[in-house]
Structures are given as C-alpha cells and as structure tokens.
Amino acid sequence: MSLSREKDYGTPLRGDGPIVTLTVDGVRVSVPAGTSVMAAASTMGTQIPKLCATDMLEAFGSCRLCLVEIEGRRGTPASCTTPVEEGMVVRTQTQRLADLRRGVMELYISDHPLDCLTCSANGDCELQDMAGAVGLREVRYGHDGERHRTVAKDESNPYFTFDSSKCIVCSRCVRACEDVQGTFALTIDGRGLGSLVATGGPDFLGSECVSCGACVQACPTATLNEKSVIEMGAPTRAVNTTCAYCGVGCSFRAEMQGDKVVRMVPSKDGKANEGHSCVKGRFAWGYATHKDRITKPMIRAKITDPWREVSWDEAFAHAASEFRRIQKTYGRDAVGGITSSRCTNEETFLVQKVVRAGFGNNNVDTCARVCHSPTGYGLKTAFGTSAGTQDFKSVAKADVIMVIGANPTDAHPVFASRMKRRLRQGAKLIVIDPRRIDLVRTAHIEADHHLALKPGTNVAIINALAHVVVTEGLVNEAYVRERCDLADFESWARFVAQESNAPEGVEAFTGVPAADVRAAARLYATGGDGAIYYGLGVTEHSQGSTMVMGMANLAMATGNIGRDGVGVNPLRGQNNVQGSCDMGSFPHEFSGYRHVSDDATRDMFENLWGVTLSAEPGLRIPNMLDEAVDGRFKGLYIQGEDIAQSDPDTKHVTLGLRNMECVIVQDLFLNETAKYAHVFFPGASFLEKDGTFTNAERRINRVRKTMAPLAGLADWEVTLGFASALGCDFSYDHPSQIMDEIAALTPTFAGVSYAKLDELGSVQWPCNAQAPEGTPIMHMDRFVRGKGKFMITEFVPTDERTTQRFPLILTTGRILSQYNVGVQTARTRNNVWHDEDVLEIHPFDAEQRGVRDGDLVAISSRSGEVALHARISERMQPGVVYTTFHHATSGANVITTDYSDWATNCPEYKVTAVQVQRTNRWSDWQAEDRASADLMRRVEGRADAAE
C-alpha cells in the first residue's frame, strides 16, 4: 500500500504478566509473559514472514511461514504459536529457514492467479509482500490457481466482493467473524487443497453476515476486498477520525485519495473499538457526498414559498434580523435553539452560547431530551454524575451482564461484539426486554434469564429484583455502610421489602414469572462482578428517570459500582449524546451539569463572556413546542436535528413549527423539519470539520477534517456567522480554541486540550489536575456526590393504557443497518438490508385480525394513524407490536403520544396503545405528507431539489 499502514504485531500484545527477556537475532528484548515470539520480534522491529497471523486474532499456526529456530529445541517451531520464555535464544533468519519459507510460498503461489499487476489489492497484499520477503523467484509446480478459477465472484454484498480464486484459505476471515465480530457467518468447507471459505448461505448477502467488515480487514489477499478500492484504486493518505453514527464512538482511519474517501478502516489503537467496526461506520459514509446535500444557504418568507439561494452573509443577516424582530415583538423568551448530538462538542457549546449570551435566555435543549435525559437526571441524583460509570473495556471483567431495554447487536454493534466475547468466555447474561432481541439466543450465547416483561413495567421489575436482594439477605452490607447514605438506604430497603414489590406481587401485570425474577436477582447479586447496560427501553417511558434510579439502587445494594467489571452504563444512541449533554445543552444547566441558578458558576461564565446571563431555567423541546402551539414561542434555531421526524406526536410538533415565524434549520439535507423552515444553513459532515465527539464511556475522541466543507463553512463557523450577525462578539479561528474555553469553564474538562488528545489519542472525563489522563472508571473510592443516594422508586403505571379501541401496545426500536431517522443511512446502499419500516406482529394477534405476512396494515392510536407492511414474528409477545422509525415516509411518530418522563419530559416512545387492521391504502397523514413534501422543498430555479 502506498500509505503507511497500522503496524501488525502478528499476534495480540499482552498487557499484563511478568516481564520475560529473550534474545532475538542477538538482540535482547523484554516483553510480558504470554507474548508470542513473533510479536516479541515485531516489537523490536523484526517482521517474521507470516500469512495466517494478524494481531487482531489469536494465533492459528496453519501457514508455516513464520518458522524460527530456537536454541535447545528441535525442529523449526512456528513463531506465532510459540510463547516467549526467559532466556530463550531465537533466530529468525538462517539458510534453513529461508529454504523452508520459500518452499511454503512456492506452494501458495502455485495455487494463486498471477494477475498481480491488475489486481485491486496490488500494493496492499500480504501474499505479494511475503513472496518478496522470502525471495521467491521460481514456482516449479505450475501456477495460475486453476483450481479456484471456476468459482464465480460473489458481489452480493453492496460494499465488498468475495473472489474465491484468490483465497489462500488462511482462515483469518473465519476467525475474525468468530472472535472479533462474534457472528460465526463463515466456515472452511472441504479439506486439504480442496478447502474453501463458505458463507452458509447462497452468498454473503443471503447469509448471517452483518457486513461488519472484520473479515475484509483480516484478509491478507484481494479475496475479500472493498468495492470502493476496486473502483477507485489504493488510497494515498490517511486521516485519523471518529465515526459519526452511534455512541460507541469508533476510531477510524479515513483512507483518502486527495479529498475523496476511498475507505474507512477501523483503528486498532482506537480505545472504544480496538480495530473493529460495524456496517455503518465502516461502509455507510456515502451520504457525505450524496447529491441531495444542500450546499447553498437559502431563505424564504413563508414555508409555502420556494426556497431562494442566497449568500452566507445574506442568510446570516436575514436570520439575525428575524430573531431580533421576534424578540422585540414577543419578548426575549420567544426564541430558542436546539443543539445536535450529531455535531461536535465545540459546535454544541457554541449553539448554547449563542442562546444564552446572544438570545439572552436559557431556551436551549438537545435531542438527548428525547433519548437519554432520564439518564442524566437519574445517575446525577444517585451518584452525582450524569454519565455511565465504566469504560467499554470493563465488560471483559464482568461475570454477570444485565442488559435492560437495549439491543446492542443492532444499535451498538461494536460494543456488542466486546460483550459477546465476554459471554462466550462464560459470563452469565440476564436480558430484560419485552422483545426477544438477538442476544437472547445467538451463536454460542444463550441468556441465562430473559425477563420478557410487558412494556411499561420496568420499574416494577427492578423493584422486584431489589425486593429479592433485600429480603433474601443478599445486600452487600459492608459496601452500603461504607459508601452510601445509610438513612436513605434504610427507608429504601423498607420500601422494596413490601409485599407489593415482591416478584409474586408484580407477576400479574409484568407478565414475568416470579421464579425467573428471583433467579435473576440471585444471579446478579451473587454471581461475581455484575454490570448493567441499558438503552432507550429504560429511558423512553413515563418513569424513565425512576427506572434509572432503580438500577442505581440495585447496583449500590449489591456493591456493583466503583471498580472494573461492574457499573451502570447507558448505551447512548447518537454519537455525541454524551458530549451534547456535557456541553450545557440543557435549559437548566451550564456545561459540566451546573445549574443556571448557581451564582458562582454563572459569574464565571459572565466574566469570560462579558454578558449578563439568565439565572432561570429555559424551555425544553416539548415545552417550546407547547408554547409555540399556544402562540408565545416564535423562533427556533435547530442545528442538525430533525424534530419533525424524530420527536413524538408529529402532528403536535408540526403544528408548533407552523406557528413559528422563523425556523432556522442547519443540516446536510432538506430534512422533514426543513419543510417548516424559513432559513436553511447547509451543514458539514464529520469529514469536513475538526472537533471532538464524546462517546458513551465519556471518551473524548478527535474528529479530523479530511476535506473542505461542501458549503464552504463548517458548522461551528456557521454558528459563528449567525452569532456575529446577532451582534455577539465571539472570535475563534479553530475549534481547538473553543475546547480551550470549555476547559477553562468546566472543571471536569479542565485538563482537556487538542494537544493532549493528539498525544494520548483520547481521554475520558473527568480530566483535570486530579486525573490528568482522564478517568476510565468513576466512583472508585467515593461517589462524586459523596455518599451514594438510594431513592424510593415506586411503580406508577403509565396513563397510556390499552383499551378496547386500542388493545395492542406498540413499542419502537432500531435495526443495525439504519441509523436513527435515516437521514444518513437511507442515502447509502444500506437500504439493501432495510428499505422500509415494517410492523412486527405476533402470529396470534395477526391471525385474530386476518393479517398475513406482507399485508399493508393501518396502525392507529389516539394521536394518529399510519400504514406499514406487516411482518409476522414471534420475537414479540402477543399483545405487543414493534416498529422502527428509520424512514420518514413511515411516520411512526404520527402515532406516538405526548406522554413523557415525569422528571425530564423524555417522551414515552416505548409504549403506545394502538389498533392494527388490514388496509389497502396509505394513511391520510402519509398521503398529505407525500403531496406536500415536494411543494415545501422547492428551490427557485432548480428542478431537482425536491428529489
């Protein structure tokens, strides 16, 4: 390859273990015990020839190319499978070894087509490299790989090809799929020379493969190769950056030709992903240059007018004068802003600054409102910090893993792979979810307990688990005494001990057999280190915050907080949900979760910013919309969010938006919300800017610019332009200066700088004088708030009840290949896996309604009606139906209601009472939406903008 590659040590490096010293080719080298001779040689710069080994995988020892001589040992052992020993004397280059290696290579090459010059992997092929390394000059057995020539190339996967004729059967792909990804899609069929890699399906697309790319990464030849490389040729430079999709925050090398991305390759030194990826980050980046991208600022007087393209200056001046006019007419509080979890920390910080310092109110909120706001509230109340307690690595130490309301294999795939590896090693698994998610039973993994509760009964189940812990004497008393507030603990213990909280007391309405709850509680409390991982199935309920506190209670009572292998961990949806919350995007909090009424904090901000700030909490998104419907809220600046699609009760949202006089949307595309906008600021993709994202483990990762912004400005520059038109005096030349300001104003970020991130790769906050290199695990010796706080978490059933009219419960979720509202992924080839949202319905419910698989069905709730195709599935329990919300035309949120979490107003997406019946037409909303879509997206002088 023409650009520098990441180093491959051949076998995994071992971090711990006593240091062992050996001699390799006369040079002494010291490495931890357990390291292979190959990796030891590699650390001192000697690359022993190899084909079947790579450091992402455990050694396999099949190719016999890596032979070495070891003093005192007979024969020529394989260096990849031989562990180092004290005093070992190794020779990697002798005549005998050279002859042996040439012999091995000769055999490989004789079975390989020799079209190297025209091969897509030319320059990036280990077989080619090794032929050179061993000095292969002749092949005596004939060549050209005739044996494999007859097998057709498999091009079914949209992103990579499988050309069996080039396969050397090293089995790296098979092992990558098993060990790294945990999917077990590939096998080696046949024996000896006749063996071949097989997918277990008709082809890759028709197999279990989830297109993570691990096998492509592992393949030393062109057998598995990215289509983009085949089309474009080899990359010439690489930029280290961070995936912009989910909260795992995988590190990638964007491999480029000029300003074009050739491929995204996961970085082995990325601490969140350690060299792994999923289909979204690895392959679904094509949206960044999709033809639908809007690259010119636009304005219009009315939402029914066509858009008019204008200069940036005109757009800024128009937006600012509109906001000032609105404030003059309707009052200072009549405008607000929404920050984006898809933008960088620096951009988020700037938007909230423009609201607080420029608009002069605290009406700023973020899309975390609709996903993880209860996490912030609940964990802050219990522990003192609004964030997960562990690093991802910690899962490798967990003995009992409890997954609640999350579907990591689809929504957080790379973390799921890490979790699955631990589960295959024998950790126990408890799944609490209404749906039989993949983890319940997947290759070599089976949950010990699946508590398939009725949607909306989380709190009853967590209390029942706690009841068992308290009444069966399973409380870790020493821990509670030392670490927690005792008085709170005692009143909580009395509360959960009540019979009404017993598993038997809740069985009737949770639907979970009491014996299963008891067994799961015993396992979590006594099975060793217990770790809780949870997702939106916890937070998106009317008792979302209560449930977060309930999990914290359970973890504290069993002593499962404050060390490796334990903890309470949110799996965050969007890439920068954690960061956007940290940056002060909530209307009541400055960065670092400090209330706006706190005088000392406000003083600090006022002094640095030179303005007076409001000490009053502002409006949250649902409150803004309510106020807009009531006519008091008139202007909204929305950065990178699509509330018309992603927020509940679409009709209410769009009514609010229609009532506003100036809606500014800043986005890559004319999204659903832009239909109601008066100003459009074109945004920049993550490839077009510098900044940082903070993932679900509080890890701050760098995003680096690979190409110029298509619209000329990165998002932070757009906010700056708008701010300056408003008369704000912000001046930054580079996002690093914004980070410096964040560090100066936020104690948990005090030690963060771009220089440090460049040096360490990433850091986990808190990062300050006490923890200069960051904090992987929180609450180690004491809780951030001092003593851990137990809260009484009484179960209050949601008001959203099934009735005769709406007898089914609808719950919502995500799938692997699509991301959130699909603005990005639906503009990639990921649509081959999921081109529409469908309604999953249990055979029993389907039969009662005469619904067959594939039928169009109308789903109605008290909020509205949409039509989707039905898929009959036993993953759901009878009485519960399920859908995703990845495609705008589905309008899944037309049916969700305005019920929300009591503490944070996080919407109750996970419980909606509905009726389902066969239909032969789209719903009225869908028909109107389609009809109006083109009208509301017209651009003057352009015929194609509405596509």
Binding site: F495, D626, E627, I792, A903
Partner: protein, 82 residues
C-alpha cells in the same frame, strides 16, 4: 402553557415523590419545579392555583403553593419573572 398540561406534569412529579414523608415530598415537588420549569410555565401554574388549582393532586398542590408563596406572594402578580 395550558393549565391542563402543567397540572398533568405537576401531578406526575408528585407521584414520584409521594413515597416520601409528606413534608419532604412537598419540598421535593417545589424544588423540582423551581429547577426545571421556565418562569413563564411557573407563572401560568400560579395563575391556575389562584383560580382554584383544579385537578392538582394534594402533594403537588401543597408543594406548588409553597413555591408560589416564596416566588410570587399574593399581591405580586408578576412573580417568577426572570
């Protein structure tokens, strides 16, 4: 904001804290509303309270009345401005 919405939200908050002793629960409701509701939302709620506070659960009502007393004592109708 419309009173019915605010009443619903206040009652939901009260439902969480109700498990605590009455005095603590009322203070907790008041603190929660003070911390998270905008001045205009609080003002609308006080207006509703003055008009009889229909629909409010007793814990919510008691908490909100204390808060109103603190922020917008009777006679000062422009309370909770910010």
């Amino acid at each position: 904001m419309k009173a019915d919405k605010l009443v619903y939200m206040a009652n939901q908050i009260a439902a969480f804290f109700r498990a605590q002793p009455a005095a603590e629960a009322q203070t907790a409701v008041a603190e929660h509303v003070r911390s998270f509701w905008s001045p205009a939302m609080r003002r609308d709620m006080y207006e509703h309270l003055r008009a009889g506070g229909e629909g409010l659960d007793p814990v919510a009502r008691a908490g909100l009345e204390t808060l109103m007393e603190r922020e917008a004592p009777a006679g000062r109708t422009s309370g909770a401005s910010g």
